[in-house]
Symmetry: C2
Subunit: 444 residues, 2 copies
């Protein structure tokens, strides 16, 4: 058996994961609706042998005068286009279960999975913004527990639909005129609290069975959903200890669903600024902060705290709680940055938003290729991660730096592939093909 290796996702937050990156001279924010731009970036990621290109999503974001974050395109549409110009890299699109129908979603993802010859992945989210609801005729977003309950049933229905026509059902015998073996069709007959779905999909299982399921929930409900249904978990941790605790916790939940620890890959996000010398890397990291417009900085923090911080001054000391902040709800994002502020001893609003402007709550590593590799290796070997979702400060330069400097160092250490293992995403991730396992694992 070959040595266990890291799995790496390229998190495509264009024109860069640092939220002021669009103002850096090297970035091309005017191209973020341009397919040629995404094609160039995808080819860099595939040159780096990344497992996936990962698009986050969310809509109804507030449009801001000083930030590009409210402007973007639907991820599954971009990924479908990229399917035509990439060969091996996995294509992850984020789609919410709160404002979609299982059939429509299942059909789009199986389409992407076929067109990419088995490279599709669905990142399941339940939407965390109140601003999405009014786009769908609702006054309020579903409560957290209801969202997760709906998500769980949604994923079950989608998986049943994906498995409803086995690929061997397609006989396609020109001679006899027999096209389909109906005995290999298993119509869905689902009736649950949230969905009632009768029928089949109109496409068979794909070259990897069906799309990979990614999830990001770190709440109790999120962890249970992941343990039962996910192939990959994307998560955010700052310290080795936190990451190890989460890793142990989540892997420990698999057995009760009849799953082995290696059937679920845990990939925390990591924001990487790399250069040939440490000084150069630190300077590069700092350089981006000068582009943060104060108004954008306050707005940005507002999203984390779920409160309007624009009345504050950027040099105000950090208060215990901001005015208007909701203190009752479990606020995962607010807690992440509050912990950062405490640990890093950040004193003012500006210090906090500059600190998180790049990593946005994820782990941050700045340094030489060796220093970056050391830190990734530590988490990987000490039970904190199976791989990482890598955030580049800028596109294309920041991503090119990672591909040209960090990836070769990881390869030298035998920690990362030098060539894709297979042609499907599941083959590259080392995950089994679910169409070949017993269908009764799907609940219902």
């Amino acid at each position: 058996m070959s040595k266990r290796q890291l799995k790496l996702g390229a998190f495509f937050n264009v024109p860069g994961h640092h939220f002021a990156s669009w103002r850096h001279p090297s970035t091309q924010p005017e191209r973020t609706l341009d397919l040629d731009y995404f094609v160039e970036l995808a080819k860099i990621a595939e040159r780096g042998k990344f497992d996936t290109i990962f698009f986050a999503d969310g809509f109804g974001q507030e449009l801001e005068e000083y930030s590009p974050s409210g402007i973007k395109l639907d991820p599954i549409i971009i990924q479908s286009a990229l399917a035509a110009v990439t060969k091996k890299i996995g294509l992850v699109a984020t789609v919410t279960t709160s404002y979609n129908e299982p059939f429509q979603l299942a059909r789009k993802f199986i389409g992407l999975d076929h067109l990419s010859k088995g490279r599709a992945a669905w990142n399941v989210v339940t939407s965390n913004s109140e601003r999405e609801a009014p786009l769908f005729g609702r006054d309020k977003h579903l409560a957290h527990a209801e969202r997760y309950e709906r998500a769980e049933e949604f994923v079950d229905v989608v998986k049943k639909l994906w498995l409803s026509i086995d690929k061997d059902a397609l006989v396609i015998d020109k001679e006899s005129g027999r096209y389909l073996d109906l005995s290999k069709v298993q119509p869905v007959n689902h009736e649950g609290k949230w969905f009632k779905v009768r029928g089949t999909l109109d496409a068979p299982t794909s070259p990897q069975g069906h799309p990979v399921i990614v999830q990001a929930g770190s709440s109790e409900a999120g962890k249970e959903l992941a343990a039962r249904t996910a192939d990959v978990v994307f998560t955010a941790w700052q310290t080795l200890e936190e990451a190890q605790a989460f890793y142990r916790d989540l892997k420990g939940r698999l057995a009760k669903y009849g799953r082995n620890p290696e059937e679920l890959l845990i990939m925390p996000g990591v924001y990487i600024t790399v250069a040939k010398t440490e000084e150069e890397a630190v300077a590069k990291r700092k350089e981006l902060d000068q582009y943060i417009h104060p108004k954008a900085g306050l707005k940005y923090l507002s999203h984390f705290f779920g409160a309007d911080l624009t009345r504050y001054h950027i040099d105000d000391p950090l208060p215990e709680h901001f005015d208007g902040e909701d203190k009752t709800n479990p606020r995962i994002r607010a807690n992440i940055v509050r912990n950062i502020a405490k640990r890093e001893n950040l004193k003012t609003i500006r210090e906090l938003y500059e600190f998180i402007a790049g990593a946005r709550g994820h782990r941050e590593i700045v340094g030489t290729p060796e220093q970056i590799a050391d830190q990734l290796q530590e988490w990987f070997e000490q039970g904190a991660a199976d791989g990482f979702n890598v955030m580049a400060p800028t596109f294309p330069d920041g991503l090119n730096d990672i591909v040209d400097l960090v990836i070769p160092e990881l390869q030298r250490r035998g920690l990362f592939r030098t060539e894709y293992e297979g042609t499907t995403l599941r083959e590259n991730l080392g995950l089994k093909n679910p169409a070949r396992t017993v269908i009764e694992n799907v609940k219902g």
Copy 2:
């Protein structure tokens, strides 16, 4: 002003529009889930300077042992992939208004429109199959009138969303840090019978303003919807007289919505079998009928009549009405084929299904390039069509024949372009950019 020219769509019914084409030795039915196949076909269509690649859609179709028609991929996913490998051709995807949310649909199409640099089109349908409802938890499909009422409001909301952020709103000034001009954002605040939508899209207007709207309704409600909202109408007529009457009728309805006749293009479907000699063309047309499996023929007619004909024998005489046929509803598809049977004096079930196996209710032309061009020219010049949605008997050969034989003849006559006029679909179709016209035309 240059001479008025035909507009031509390439109707991608793979592996061929003849419903037994999958059994012909030249076709590749095993590739209909394969992106490389669609890329090859798209390049043929673009070589022929077609205005569009057109994908019909519908789901929940009965899976049949002797027919490939229940197996297919989501059209907008295929078109998004084709956006990456085509340059000038329009990309039409059919999506129903009955089982979608306006925001989700608007967002996907504006995504395709940006990625294709202004080549997207939405073919609006309301779903005509009862089999779709159970996939969405409904026992019954909406009634015809309700479907059209919902469709009308749906299209209005989608257009408002598409126009909610003007492309000039994107200032993207690195120097000042100003990204967006919020005065060029017009949030939607829609509250109607079917939808309540508040907010904006997350992408601005596209290089062609917004996607082209295509419709296919020929009912009274369908014609009104088209007259008010469509840019292109796809329709099915057998005779010059019928087509002229429809053309006059529909164009005559535009004035009351403040539109000029040239703002709506009428493009009937036409099934073309072409060869260098007439004999060869006729033989080619006949050849495909031998591949119709009797069970597939009966099933196929069943769909037209909305009744199960599998109890009949293929050589039975055609009855006035089939057992179980619904005679009360307006049944456009049933009436089309019944009229064909009368006009062509078809005596048996087999004669009927062989007659319609290729054109499927659309006009059929068989002959030399000159004969084909004569007939297309007649309709075009005699007020029956602005262009055609062209159906190839087989892919790729049937489409190649049309591109290599018919297109050059149309070009010789000055009836069809030798190069694309512009880069967007609207430029090629000669339609104006709706983002530059007054927004108040969209019904509030």
